[in-house]
Symmetry: C2
Subunit: 371 residues, 2 copies
């Protein structure tokens, strides 16, 4: 029997709509299968062994993680093809070697020095992707720097213990797009930069390189995934306020809210104090007319939750407190001792900080933090 | 034998200068003792049982925490006088009752409805503070709303199981001050608002109420703590970039940096990619000319660390990646595979997310997250 009033929730809790999450998985898995593209979802979004199994059910065998520790966690949970989508950290060489011994491990590299050190230190043959920056300007070799990319490919290709897999990017520039059309355009542009590079390297080095791309906005919105070999989105599992505001998803696609106790009401300023702060939601923000905000307030009910519109949002966050600004109508419904749902700005960070999820059927899902 | 190269650090790690932290405790403890004011430090900054003992050595017997769970943790570690500085969350009533049974518990309340419910539900006499908002506009009854404050005091005073302790505020408006003089002014102004209220309530209700105040900027910078009965600062233990930029502390007063592996260098844009992202530092930010930044880069060395100036800072943070922008000189010193220190923007959030600290002598301090 399911408690429609969520009376089991006493503190800020990640509330998962598992049916919606599975629906999101299915959509992405079917799209990639149809286009014969390897689906290597990023598991940093949920960090849960159990939720990982939902992907396996959808036919997934290859996964992406963001740390060596997360790779070890999924290796312990039966995954055998794992890409660590973070520049190889040489200080963790012994942990990387332990992993390479037991799974088909892939690493990413963006400098020849690291490739040389890795080849020298690694004790098991390992797949290596060259990280290319197609426009995000975070990590990777800038796509126009063909000389450097070519040099790195040569180093990896001639290395004894490294197997060159191909070119990899995270086209995170899509997170700054103004419209969904721009997201689709940026996705295509990023892919074209990679296919041009691939074709060039094929001519020069006679290497057959794969292409791996990763962002949720581009992969979710583009009907045609393009000339790529694998996609690595993660966030689409849960979505969040960031994806809503980018136009990537609708409010009803979101599969995660944080249920927060209401602890005080301030009618004069249309604000409600919730138990739910930066250590629950994370301090990720969106700037709206130069003011940061931290998520949308939703109504919790027996069926899950109902979006109340963009006028109900988290206006500030301290360590444990949140302040939500709401309309008169919503304010009237709120009761001290009740719960309000918050669609976080960045669900991956929220799950990481909260450490576990509870679904609408009251099943608990532990994550790497709480395993 | 201490490893001067920090070769035991492989992943982002909270690095504590325990001597500096103890010095900071001593300064605050001596100031309050000298002025005969109860020092009730906020333990949310470190969340460590062991670091808590350093306060005990400095004569502290009363503490502040920010959650019921944190109160239980410190109760387990021998603390007997605990204030939960967060509006009483009625959904945790049974946990509050468990606590009230074994410690001298203090709660804060800002509405008569909650006071009535609490009185009805609590099974052990509990101290209650009335939360007053003296200017921060987060939680508490606005200081000019004397009618509401008086009403709440009457409700608590006449309650069977509640003992009215006094008026409490967190004058967090000091975090938005432009100068240190303004911080001192805001601290005094907040205190005057409380003492006026106290005197008024004494006349009207014949109650002797105490005053409890809390912010690190005001308590650290003011030589005279004023007519208050207790102070509850927490952040001064570690300090951070926020406190540096407010002028509250000097770089050398900071007792915490996050040691982060360097994983890539981008000479063309004077940027370095570090293993150290939002799940390590937290996404807390400071806006500088409308651009957020996330901490300062410092040089790690055998003695601890050296501040490199404000031109070396964290310009962006993803889940696991950080990008630091540095001067030519600093860039030349950085080596892939080496470590760089980051002074976080908000040390309390950083400690919460990292879950443990390691000091310069390689002692490890677990926190509530990892106990």
């Amino acid at each position: 029997m399911i408690d429609q009033n969520f009376s089991h929730i006493k503190v800020p809790t990640a509330l998962l709509d598992s049916e919606q999450a599975r629906r999101n998985i299915r959509i992405m898995a079917e799209k990639s299968t149809r286009q014969n593209i390897r689906f290597r979802p990023h598991f940093k979004t949920h960090q849960s062994a159990e939720i990982g199994e939902w992907f396996r059910t959808a036919g997934v065998g290859s996964i992406t993680v963001s740390s060596v520790r997360m790779a070890a966690y999924y290796a312990d949970n039966g995954w055998r093809d794992i890409l660590i989508a973070f520049p190889a950290n040489m200080r963790e060489l012994s942990e990387i070697n332990d992993l390479a011994e037991r799974v088909d491990l892939s690493l990413i590299v963006e400098s020849s020095d690291v490739a040389v050190s890795l080849d020298r230190g690694i004790t098991h043959a390992t797949n290596v992707w060259v990280k290319v920056d197609t426009g995000m300007r975070r990590a990777g070799i800038w796509w126009e720097n063909t000389q450097e990319i070519e040099k790195l490919c040569r180093v990896i290709h001639s290395a004894k213990n490294l197997k060159l897999s191909g070119l990899l990017t995270h086209a995170g520039q899509t997170y700054h797009a103004a419209t969904t059309d721009e997201i689709r355009k940026l996705y295509k542009e990023s892919n074209r930069r990679l296919t041009d590079l691939r074709d060039y390297l094929k001519r020069i080095l006679e290497l057959d390189l794969e292409i791996s791309v990763g962002d949720t906005p581009g992969c979710w919105l583009s009907d045609e995934l393009g000339e790529v070999d694998e996609i690595r989105p993660g966030n689409f599992l849960l979505f969040d306020a960031m994806m809503m505001d980018l136009g990537v998803c609708r409010p009803e696609d979101v599969a995660l809210v944080v249920a927060c106790p209401v602890v005080a009401k301030h009618k004069n300023r249309n604000e409600v104090v919730i138990y739910g702060g930066a250590i629950h939601l994370s301090k990720e923000f969106i700037l709206r007319e130069e003011h940061p905000f931290y998520g949308y307030a939703v109504e919790l009910n027996g069926a899950g939750w109902k979006f109340l519109g963009r006028d109900n949002y988290v206006v500030s966050l301290s360590q444990e407190h949140g302040i939500i600004r709401v309309t008169d109508e919503v304010l009237a419904q709120m009761e001290i001792g009740g719960l309000v749902g918050i669609i976080p700005v960045h669900s991956c960070l929220t799950v990481d900080t909260l450490g576990y999820l509870v679904d609408l059927q009251e099943n608990r899902y532990d994550t790497l933090r709480t395993r």
